[in-house]
């Protein structure tokens, strides 16, 4: 167990770490998140004694870190740094062997046990083929693997890793995260600095969300990675959904409407837009509309576009799935369509259930943007009825037809 209490760290006059108290338990994988400059690396360096705090204490198993010598610390905690450039040509096995230095006395060579541990680590991490190669001739991912192998050969109970998977390909990212999960299962404490919120959500047990040298939130993923917390630390809007495949949450940033100037945004936000979409065909449009007063419908409640609209807090006209559209909804749609300034029709297929959406557009006089990616014939499941109405709509003066997202946004 490793913990810190009221940790403060100042560099010159800048407060880097401000009153941090944390407790890391055995058998957990911790992810440290936060924007650049929030103090993540400094926190790890304080935990291993590479930096000395101005106030506060670090404890390993309730023993103050100050009572440990550098060698004693290395037997308990080790750290993998962000950059791992080695000036001279070392062999892979030589680099891994450095992890055993703390156990080998200055006056002797490595013991059989040391050799055994080095060989085990090489086999575990599948480095057998690389062990006689030169470290500097390996790819970035392979180098990172060797550096991690060094840390594991050290047999410390607490591993601190500063961005171990940034700049790596997805296959290495997954391999490393699974590796860390494995070591956690064996009883180690692993603390990682990560950049990818989704990787963190998928693999970590607990998240430490940092901002400006303080802990914004610490705890389970669902409690820490909320829309509100992410908005506060990173200053971006996100949508958080449950990922049904991995059973974790999935975070998608919302576009900032192609960076409109601020005053323009607030001016435009009075514009009322109604979007007719469904089947997920509207999501690319909806995600760009967060600064407008948007309504969506008629749409059924199991639809992806429904979920998205709900998360973005848009007004909705909805129906239960697989049912005919009710008179009530029809009336509601008419009311809304009458009031809005602009209507967007997404590139959706038409069946008998949603034909009412199309029909109700024909007699309107506001600006209508029709988003057409595929010809209507390909998405008509009404034996030509929808095509007929659609073509009549396209001929009207108040209708603009666009076929890419950029034009659509420009026309709003």
């Amino acid at each position: 167990m490793i913990s810190c209490k009221n940790l403060h760290f100042k560099y010159r006059t800048k407060q880097i770490i401000n009153d941090i108290t944390l407790n890391f338990e055995k058998g957990h994988l911790y992810g440290v998140l936060g924007p650049n400059g929030s103090g993540k690396t400094t926190l790890l360096k304080l935990l291993i004694g590479l930096l000395k705090q101005n106030h506060g204490q670090v404890y390993i198993d309730d023993i103050n870190l100050k009572k440990f010598s550098i060698r004693d610390i290395a037997k308990q905690v080790t750290m993998v740094n962000q950059t791992n450039y080695i000036e001279f040509d070392y062999k892979v096995s030589e680099v891994i062997k450095m992890g055993r230095y703390v156990y080998i006395s200055r006056f002797s060579n490595e013991s059989d046990e040391d050799k055994q541990i080095i060989n085990d680590v090489i086999e575990q991490l599948k480095l057998t083929k690389l062990k006689d190669r030169k470290f500097n001739n390996l790819s970035g991912g392979e180098q990172q693997k060797v550096i991690i192998a060094r840390a594991i050969a050290q047999k410390a109970r607490i591993l601190l890793l500063d961005e171990p998977i940034s700049h790596l390909d997805i296959n290495y990212q997954i391999e490393f995260m699974n590796l860390f999960r494995n070591y956690v299962k064996k009883g180690l404490i692993v603390i990682l600095i990560l950049h990818d919120l989704n990787i963190a959500a998928q693999y970590c047990d607990k998240i430490i969300l940092m901002n400006n040298g303080t802990i914004m939130e610490f705890g389970n993923i669902q409690n820490v990675l909320t829309k509100n917390n992410i908005q506060k630390t990173y200053g971006i809007d996100v949508i958080i959904r449950k990922n049904n495949l991995t059973n974790s949450i999935y975070i998608t940033p919302i576009n900032d409407n192609h960076s409109l100037p601020k005053n323009e945004k607030s001016e435009k936000s009075n514009i009322k837009i109604h979007v007719i979409c469904g089947g997920g065909h509207g999501s690319e449009i909806l995600i760009n509309l967060k600064h407008y007063d948007v309504s969506v419908g008629i749409i059924n409640v199991l639809d992806d576009d429904y979920t998205l609209s709900n998360e973005m807090e848009f007004k909705l006209i909805s129906e239960a799935p697989f049912s005919q559209i009710s008179e009530y909804s029809k009336q509601k749609l008419e009311d809304i369509l009458y009031k809005v300034d602009l209507i967007i029709l997404a590139n959706i297929p038409f069946g008998n259930e949603n034909l009412i959406n199309l029909k109700s557009l024909v007699n309107l006089n506001q600006k209508i943007i029709v988003f057409e990616k595929n010809p209507i014939e390909e998405r008509d499941y009404t034996n030509g009825l929808a095509t007929k109405i659609y073509n009549r709509l396209k001929k009207k003066d108040n209708v603009i037809v666009v076929n890419n997202l950029e034009d659509l946004i420009k026309n709003i």
Partner: protein
């Protein structure tokens, strides 16, 4: 089967080092005999063997005169041993310097050890104090000057918790230029001493004797033995200070010890033999190409390499335009420059980083 292969493989790797070790020793011994037999007075191999064996206690019939014995035992032998020890010291300092500064183009002179010593000696010669403490005056002055120079740049580069190696390197280079300028100044205004000063600055083994040899041998043995215990610290420090510390190395302490070691070894060579370029830069590189970068081995084999290089450089310096003797420092730089360029081209072709 797999296990057995591993064991054989492991043994083979060690035995390569052992073979290298014995080959180096044999080559060095043969070179010593050869070097001793060379010189303006022609003394053949048989006599050289005889004199040497008799000197270490074997009862061998005397087929030579005492003049020849004196030449071998009091002129050539100390000189040859001196080249070996100084070469070893410079190469070991070079290994320490390159790993300590994590920089392959650094040699032990770069932080001003030789230029400060050179300035001290030049000053001493100009003021006419060069014999106040018998033959040890100039060495003592050089040693004091270079150690104080390192002390100054050490103080400049030290912060509360941390010794910045890049600050050390930069302030070292600055101080090195500063002292060189002063030395040039002295040279420019002291016509009668200019040749003496220059000879000292360029480095040579002229006039090596047993007294000096014993002093430098003691410094070498102490420095070299301590350095062997710090091979792994050097390895770890190449990975960067914070990684080295998380491996369990007391980085700041090791830095201090290694810096002191390097300063002592290099200052001692400069004090007795002047500044001999390129050994400290080239030999570590050359050895790395043969046996890899592990500093535990590198320190030992670089010492051999440095010893051999300087021994042969001195042989050439003595014989190439005999009876005139070339300062060995000129020769090492003369050969070292092109050789180094050859290494760079070779590495470039094979696509490796230097």
């Amino acid at each position: 089967m797999k296990m057995r292969y591993k064991i054989i493989n492991l043994k083979r790797k060690n035995s390569i080092s052992i073979i290298f070790f014995f080959i180096s020793i044999i080559i060095i011994l043969l070179s010593i005999i050869y070097a001793i037999s060379l010189g303006s007075v022609n003394i053949n191999f048989g006599k050289v063997w005889g004199i040497l064996l008799r000197a270490i206690g074997f009862n061998i019939e005397k087929t030579w005169n005492s003049g020849e014995e004196n030449i071998i035992l009091f002129l050539r032998l100390p000189r040859v041993l001196m080249t070996l020890i100084v070469g070893g010291m410079l190469a070991v300092s070079g290994v320490i310097a390159q790993s300590l500064f994590k920089n392959p183009i650094v040699d032990p002179y770069i932080i001003g050890i030789s230029s400060s010593a050179g300035f001290g000696s030049a000053l001493c010669i100009m003021l006419g104090f060069s014999a106040v403490f018998s033959i040890f005056t100039l060495p003592l002055v050089s040693f004091v000057f270079s150690c104080s120079a390192i002390l100054i740049i050490y103080k400049l580069s030290k912060t509360k918790y941390h010794l910045s190696m890049s600050a050390l390197l930069l302030s070292g280079i600055a101080i090195s230029f500063f002292f060189s300028a002063f030395t040039s100044f002295i040279l420019y205004f002291s016509e009668e001493h200019a040749h003496y000063i220059l000879t000292f600055l360029m480095g040579s083994f002229w006039g090596a004797n047993w007294q000096e040899l014993i002093v430098i041998f003691i410094i070498f043995i102490i420095g070299f033995s301590i350095s062997l215990f710090y091979g792994r610290d050097l390895n770890a420090m190449v990975l960067g200070d914070s990684t080295a510390q998380s491996i369990g190395i007391n980085v700041e302490q090791s830095k201090r010890i290694l810096l002191i070691l390097m300063t002592f070894l290099t200052s001692a060579t400069v004090a007795f033999c002047g500044s001999i370029g390129f050994v400290g830069l080239m030999i570590p590189h050359f050895t790395r190409m043969l046996i890899g970068s592990d500093n535990n081995k590198l320190l030992i084999f670089s010492a051999f390499g440095g010893a051999l290089l300087l021994l042969w450089a001195d042989i050439i310096a003595r014989t190439i335009i005999a009876p005139i003797e070339l300062p060995v420092g000129i020769l090492t730089s003369l050969l070292g420059g092109p050789f180094f360029i050859y290494l760079i081209i070779k590495k470039k072709k094979s696509g490796e980083s230097l």
